[in-house]
Amino acid sequence: MIIVRENDDTGGCICCSGGMGEFAKKEHSYDGIRKVAEECGRLHREIRERFGDDGVDIIQIEPRAYFYLMPKVLKDILKFSPSIFSAIRTIFFWYPVPVVIVNGKPVGTGRVPTIDEVLRELGQFMVKSIVGE
């Protein structure tokens, strides 16, 4: 599961300015980004509580880490074979952030999905894998 969201405590070139760091918490204009980060944090915690440290592989990442994201997503697409449309959308980053990518398929684009939506997607995969077996 890959959570793509913007960082709520960075800003600009940090070298030679130190970056926003802790001060980002004071900056009211970070409110929107911070709210999304909080919701992603909530989802992250809920998933970990449910599945433990090793049950689900959770990656939380910034949109600009595209060069890491791309091969990771490709790997998931090859492994879990989502629909063609989902695969194209995911590979070309064709969705608004925040987004949660579950087994190569975007879930809850532009908002942080609820744990039920994520579980539904995970459940579908589990059913598929059981039927497949």
Partner: protein, 607 residues
């Protein structure tokens, strides 16, 4: 004698690899004793938002992007006045023994302190006084850093309609991206970034047409007017919401940074240019036209970020330690990111040294000074014609770096006739970083002033207090603006270098304290040696700057106030560093002798 760049590049990579394998391996295993069974703050303070375990390579990318800015590009270019060797050796030795160790040890210390900041670690490990002094030093250093970087971009843009148009365009482009990504097509980061990059390239391309049109005079601005615009920009940008300008430009610069640095590295390897700059120049004995002091200690403060940078301590004790999932990852991230930054510094040095010395000096010193040097330009007029700009007297380092980079790019097959575009692309690339640094730095310094002010008048620290925000932003903008207006690259850059290196010295001092307090005093030399070197060179450079440059200024008419301000600021930063060193000595003495004795006494009594 000319040298080919290739052996220097390969040699640097080999030295870095050997040091990483053996010396850094030794520090990681024996000094820090990284232990993967210990839970990192990502687990102990896990909240899924700021503290969460992150893949090593994701965090590496994040950390590297954060520590790399304009500093490692400009410093080596200015230090090329001493020749190829001083800069090359200092970057290489500095980065493997100083910079990488500095970044690693602060990263490690922060992880062991639950992801706390440098000032907090100083407060805990040394004393509350050192914590406060570290914060004050950071504020001073920020003001000087903004002035140092600001002057580089101002000198690159003055009297350049193409450059000014292109850089000017980055502001509406970023604003448009901000509105697009956060208002019109909310969350469409990828679309916004692609559109931004396309517009940016168009701004570079059409800049040429603007420069040859009737609009050119509107974009051909004097140094004073550019300075004024950048000051207004700094003021406005730092109070605008982050989503409007800062975040979108962050996306632009992130991709530009990766692309341009990778292209430069490939270009140097493919072209492997001859370095026309001699190995050593006559200016090693002092009297240089760019940096006036001698090789020792001035080369060590001219090249700051590429070899060792205090600002990295802020990154290493910022976001990265909160996200690292295993202690062993600190080795890869902390050391390697800095080694690559050193490598970028070497590439910048190569780009500058590939110019003929006379051309290099003609660009980097004012025409009046250049005439007295007795050089005759070799290819400068040809270069000026090729880039479409008058390159004479474009001090600050940014222009000669852009010319050097453009020369390397155009030597790649198929690029021959694109010199002017590559030059302006390189200028845009440097300015993009610097403007973002000005925006962030002014904003951070504003918060720091508001925090200090709040100790005397409580409402002042509230960030939503408009008068407080305006007063503190104005104070900071006027602070760095004053240095830009009154100084030159020759006076400001050494101050920036001194400040940055003193911050590194302070961080190494904190690192040494952490090692000693861990009961590893016998390994304290790993940070003590670079600390002693950095402090010795920087304090002597600071002292020489005051006595040889700034105090004589106070004797000259019209420069009295500037001389005093520069002297006082440099002395203040030096005093901050001296206080932290003395305070650390007290803490080390206590840890090594008094507490050890107390433990021994306890053992004897219990026996």
């Amino acid at each position: 004698m000319t040298v080919n760049a290739m052996p220097l590049v390969v040699g640097a990579l080999c030295v870095m690899a050997i040091f990483y394998r053996y010396y850094h391996g030794f520090i990681a295993s024996k000094v820090a004793t990284l232990d993967d069974s210990r839970k990192t703050p990502a687990y102990t303070m896990y909240d899924g938002q700021n503290y969460y375990p992150t893949n090593k390579w994701v965090l590496f990318g994040h950390h590297f992007a954060a520590i790399t800015g304009a500093g490692p590009l400009i410093g080596p270019v200015l230090a090329a006045q001493f020749g190829v060797l001083p800069g090359y050796i200092w970057i290489l030795v500095g980065v493997v023994i100083g910079g990488a160790v500095h970044d690693f040890i602060i990263f490690f210390s922060s992880v062991r302190h639950g992801g706390k900041s440098l000032a907090e670690i100083a407060r805990i490990q040394i004393s509350p006084l050192s914590g406060i002094i570290a914060s004050i030093a950071i504020l001073f250093i920020l003001v000087v850093a903004l002035a140092g970087l600001g002057i580089a971009v101002i000198n690159a843009l003055s009297e350049s309609s193409w450059g000014t148009f292109t850089i000017g365009c980055t502001i509406p482009i970023a604003l448009f991206m901000g509105l697009y990504m956060y208002k019109f097509r909310k969350g469409r980061i990828a679309e916004g970034t692609i559109i931004g990059v396309i517009f940016l390239i168009l701004a570079v391309v059409f800049g040429k047409d603007i420069a040859h049109s009737h609009l050119a005079p509107y974009f051909t601005l004097s140094k004073t007017r550019i300075t004024l615009f950048i000051l207004i920009y700094g003021f406005v940008a730092s109070v605008l919401p982050v989503w409007m300008l800062l975040c979108p430009r962050d996306y632009l610069s992130a991709f530009m940074k990766i692309g341009t640095i990778a292209s430069l590295a490939i270009g140097v390897v493919v072209v492997h240019p001859q370095l026309r700059m001699p190995l050593l120049t006559e200016y090693i004995h002092g009297g240089g036209p760019i940096i006036h002091g001698k090789l020792f200690p001035f080369v060590f403060i001219t090249i700051a970020c590429g070899a060792i940078s205090g600002f990295h301590a802020l990154v290493s004790s910022g976001t990265s330690p909160k996200m690292v999932s295993r202690e062993s990852d600190i080795k890869t991230i902390g050391f390697t990111a800095m080694l690559i930054e050193g490598f970028i510094g070497i590439l910048a040095l190569i780009a500058a040294c590939s110019l003929f010395p006379a051309d290099y000096f003609a660009i980097n010193v004012p025409p009046g000074v250049f005439e007295k040097l007795g050089f005759s330009v070799v290819n400068l007029h040809g270069l000026s014609a090729e880039v479409g700009e008058n390159l004479v007297g474009r001090t600050g380092g940014a222009v000669s770096l852009a010319v050097g980079m453009a020369q390397i790019f155009t030597a790649v097959p198929g690029m021959r006739h694109l010199m002017d575009y590559w030059y302006h692309f390189a200028i845009m690339f440097e300015a993009l970083f610097i403007l973002t640094t000005i925006d962030t730095g002014t904003r951070v310094a504003r918060f720091m002033i508001q925090e200090f002010g709040g100790k005397f008048y409580k409402p002042f620290e509230r960030v939503d207090n408009v008068p407080s925000a305006i007063i503190s932003t104005a104070l900071i903008t006027c602070g760095w603006g004053y240095f830009v207006f009154t100084g030159s690259i020759g006076t400001i850059w050494p101050m920036f270098g001194t400040a940055n290196q003193l911050l590194a010295g302070i961080a190494l001092c904190v690192g040494t304290t952490v090692i000693i307090n861990m009961g590893k005093a016998k390994y304290a030399w790993v940070t003590l040696v670079p600390m002693a070197f950095v402090m010795a060179t920087t304090l002597s450079a600071g002292w020489m700057n005051i006595t040889q440059n700034f105090i004589p200024m106070t004797q000259k008419q019209g420069l009295v106030f500037q001389g005093y301000v520069n002297s006082i600021l440099t002395a203040a930063i030096m005093t901050c560093a001296a206080i932290i060193i003395l305070d650390s000595f007290r803490s080390w003495y206590k840890s090594v002798f008094i507490e050890k004795k107390e433990i021994l006494v306890k053992e004897v009594v219990s026996d």
